[in-house]
């Protein structure tokens, strides 16, 4: 059997039912689903699958920790819009995937994880490296499958791909026992096709609701569009833009929404929420209509719910019925695919003059913008905000930026202006430290032609730094910017604001990251002053292979503005009038 498949160079098995081993069926099905890259780590219970890999036109990237595999699959999916695939063995291999799976779940990313498991005969006996991974991942996957027959592999994987991409996307895990991988079955790709996708039965967009929505938009004096990740998932960028331009409505973005509406657009307000600019949040608080497009009113976006946008009617356009009225009560709910809903809604919406409201918002920027760090003189210190601003300027914004989680993530969101979707890849919902480096590797495989930057803190980078070896083994070009302030910065900031500056367990010793990179054969340099930033960034960009920049930034800088947890959107901690870091006694 194996020898026949061995000589198989064409994709004949995709059109003609062919006897294959379960392991071969795994790859053949992936090929059929259009997969070209997978990220994984071998082990006993998945060895038959690895053994069969050489017969199929799929590139496998060996990761250094399975968490890296699930993040890479996630980064691949976010950058490409296609399904990312991760592979791991049973037991610890499978459990190591979990953080990455949960990350994808919280941000609705289509990922398929394939794990090997012990033979079906010993399932549930605590056999070596056995773990109940379908049980463990049940709450962090859209769905999962336990497959113990070779015949069921192709249908399960095909169904997994359908589930991962349909409706509100998300991760799916397929756990395949070793005996199923070793057994033989007739592989019939066409017959393994899942039943047609059935949309969520509670999707509901009717004429009355569309008319009500149009009416609210027509009568609004102070409308704001809230655009989220759903805009890019639905491919509704044009429709949102048309709605904004026709009705002269400003657009505020969630963290995952950055890029779905061009930052340079005159109607773009930028990011809303906890670290959004105060005028953005003030505009939301003053609004008389919120048009929420593909976003879920996360607590980082709303602040204290009871005082959130009290004056505003809310139109909620969302594909997941379980999100309607979950946090914020919708006056009109349009439950369906955003793009389709907007296409139905736009013909009912006419032009309106929004100039008075836009002027009000513009005027409210005033003082806050002046205090922005970009407008302060070069004091010789290096600020993360400067690094982000320069990175944006020097790349012309034309790069895929993959961030980790923490202060640098917020500075990136504030100072790197994204014009297009899928140019910022970040863990928003779960807030997974260690995400950036592996996710960037996945993103690079998805878009080899694009400039990819990792932006990570010194804390998060160390969580998955082992993947530097993966970069080297794969010979890929990724630029790494470590925003190094010697602290777990965001936690330190919370300690500064809310815990009496008790910096418990946040000061952080790190290796010399440049030497660490060097040990991997990756060149790099440290950057200590603003003056060096441009040269360093250009050197990284012009170096053929990966390059690491260690930005030694101001240690106790904080992200402003900020809404303290439990406070209302308009109760922000604003930038200090005098920046204590900029104006120290030893400064001139």
């Amino acid at each position: 059997m194996g020898s026949n498949a061995n000589q198989q160079t064409s994709n004949a098995h995709l059109t003609t039912p062919t006897p294959l081993t379960g392991a071969e069926i795994v790859w053949a099905t992936l090929v059929g689903e259009g997969v070209t890259d997978v990220f994984g780590y071998p082990g006993g219970a998945i060895l038959p699958v690895y053994d069969a890999l050489r017969k199929f036109p799929i590139h496998h990237t060996l990761v250094r920790h399975e968490q890296g595999a699930s993040h890479m699959a996630d980064g691949y999916a976010r950058a490409s819009g296609k399904v990312g695939v991760a592979l791991a063995t049973s037991g610890p291999g499978a459990t190591n995937l979990v953080t990455g799976i949960a990350t994808a779940m919280l941000d609705s990313i289509p990922v398929v994880c394939i794990t090997g498991n012990v033979s079906s005969k010993v399932l549930g006996t605590d056999a070596f490296q056995e773990v109940d991974i379908t049980g463990i991942t049940l709450p962090v996957t859209k769905h999962n499958f336990l497959v113990n027959r070779a015949d069921d592999i192709a249908p399960a994987i095909r169904h997994a791909f359908q589930i991962a991409q349909s409706g509100r996307p998300g991760p799916v895990l397929v756990d395949i026992t070793k005996d199923a991988q070793q057994a033989t079955a007739i592989f019939d790709f066409a017959a393994a096709k899942p039943k047609p996708y059935k949309p969520h039965p509670m999707l509901h967009v009717d004429d009355t609701a569309l008319t009500q929505a149009a009416e609210l938009i027509r009568n609004a004096k102070r409308p704001v569009i809230l655009a989220g990740h759903g805009v890019s998932e639905s491919g509704a960028m044009e429709q949102v833009r048309t709605l904004a331009e026709r009705t002269q409505t400003p657009v505020a973005l969630t963290l995952l929404g950055l890029g779905v509406f061009p930052a340079s657009h005159p109607l773009s307000l930028g990011m809303m929420g906890m670290h959004g600019e105060s005028w953005v949040n003030d505009a939301i608080q003053e609004a008389d209509l919120l048009i929420a497009c593909g976003m879920r009113f996360d607590d980082r976006v709303t602040g204290k719910l009871s005082s959130y946008a009290q004056k505003a009617k809310k139109i909620h356009i969302e594909i997941d019925p379980a999100e309607i009225n979950k946090n914020v009560k919708a006056d009109v709910a349009l439950v369906g695919d955003l793009r389709a809903v907007l296409e139905d809604l736009l013909p009912r919406v006419g032009g309106r003059d929004g100039s008075a409201w836009l002027k009000t918002i513009e005027a409210s920027k005033g003082a806050s913008a002046v205090r922005d760090i970009r407008n302060l003189p070069d004091s010789g210190h290096l600020y993360a905000a400067h690094v982000m601003h320069d990175l944006w300027r020097l790349t012309g914004g034309d790069a895929v930026v993959v961030t980790d989680v923490g202060q640098h993530q917020m500075w990136e969101a504030q100072y790197f202006h994204h014009e297009k979707p899928r140019t910022l890849i970040t863990s928003g919902g779960l807030g997974t430290m260690g995400f950036a480096l592996p996710a960037a590797i996945g993103a690079k495989f998805a878009c080899p032609e694009k400039e990819v930057w990792v932006v990570a803190g010194d804390g998060g980078f160390q969580m998955t730094a082992a993947e530097l070896s993966t970069i080297v083994q794969e010979g890929i070009k990724i630029n790494i910017a470590i925003i190094n302030n010697g602290y777990l910065g965001m936690v330190r900031q919370w300690q500064e604001f809310f815990y009496d500056r008790n910096y418990e367990s946040t000061p952080l010793v790190s290796p010399d990251f440049v030497k660490l990179a060097d040990a991997h054969g990756i060149p790099g340099r440290a950057v200590r002053t603003r003056g060096e930033v441009e040269d360093a960034v250009q050197e990284a960009r012009s170096t053929k292979g990966a390059y690491l920049l260690n930005f030694l930034v101001e240690k106790e800088d904080s992200v402003y503005p900020m809404i303290p947890v439990g406070s209302a959107l308009h109760e922000m901690i604003l930038r200090p009038h005098k920046n204590p870091l900029l104006e120290q006694p030893d400064d001139e």
């Binding site: 379908t134 049940l138 769905h143 059935k198 039965p201 509670m202 009717d206 997941d320």
Partner: protein, 194 residues
């Protein structure tokens, strides 16, 4: 408030865990859960009763529908419906004390389904309050209750088939179309054109 959900779910391993896990995650205690085969081959029907806020009903139903193996979910709420529960109650009773139990059973329209020298088993079907009532009077009798086994609630809407109601509400799945008669029509065969 008390919510009653009726759901058709695929008859596969692990499906009940998925349903139960949803409530566990929301920290909602399941008062009762009754599952059995339905009129549709391959689908089980469950009745789940839980206490949750009035607004939670919509979200629970929407979340249940997000489970891949859940085909149809009905939130019975205040809709006209028939609810029944089955209870088996074993009572310690001798020849001398039996007759009192017989009388109670008669009044409650229950049945004696097992009788031994020192015990008897009462089968009772009815609404929850009726079963509670029987248990209460048995407790006050001279015969001790030895065991109680209750099925939990089973609920069915009055009138039209659940699927038809859901469809009228605009929230049933495409294949959630009821067979007009409840014979064991093979899956798919009963689908009528829209």
């Amino acid at each position: 408030m008390m919510h009653t959900f009726v759901a058709y779910v695929e008859d596969l391993p692990g499906v009940l865990t998925r349903v139960a896990s949803l409530f566990r995650r929301l920290n909602i205690n399941i008062h009762s859960l009754t599952v059995g085969r339905s009129e549709r081959p391959g689908l089980s029907r469950l009745t789940l009763v839980c206490e949750a806020s009035a607004e939670a009903g919509h979200r629970i139903r929407a979340s249940l529908y997000k489970l891949e193996n859940v085909v149809e979910v009905d939130d019975i709420a205040q809709a006209p419906s028939v609810t029944r529960e089955l209870a088996l109650i074993k009572v310690g009773a001798t020849k001398e004390t039996r007759s009192a139990i017989f009388e109670l059973v008669e009044v409650f329209r229950a049945r004696i389904v097992d009788l031994t020298a020192d015990s008897l088993m009462v089968e009772m079907t009815g609404v929850e309050s009726k079963i509670e009532g029987l248990i209460e009077v048995l407790k006050q009798s001279d015969s001790p209750i030895l065991e109680i086994c209750r099925s939990g609630k089973m609920t069915m809407r009055r009138g039209h088939h659940t699927s038809r109601v859901l469809r009228a509400m605009g929230s049933a799945g495409d294949d959630a179309i009821e067979p007009e008669s409840v014979d064991l029509t093979p899956e798919g065969a009963a689908i009528e054109p829209e």
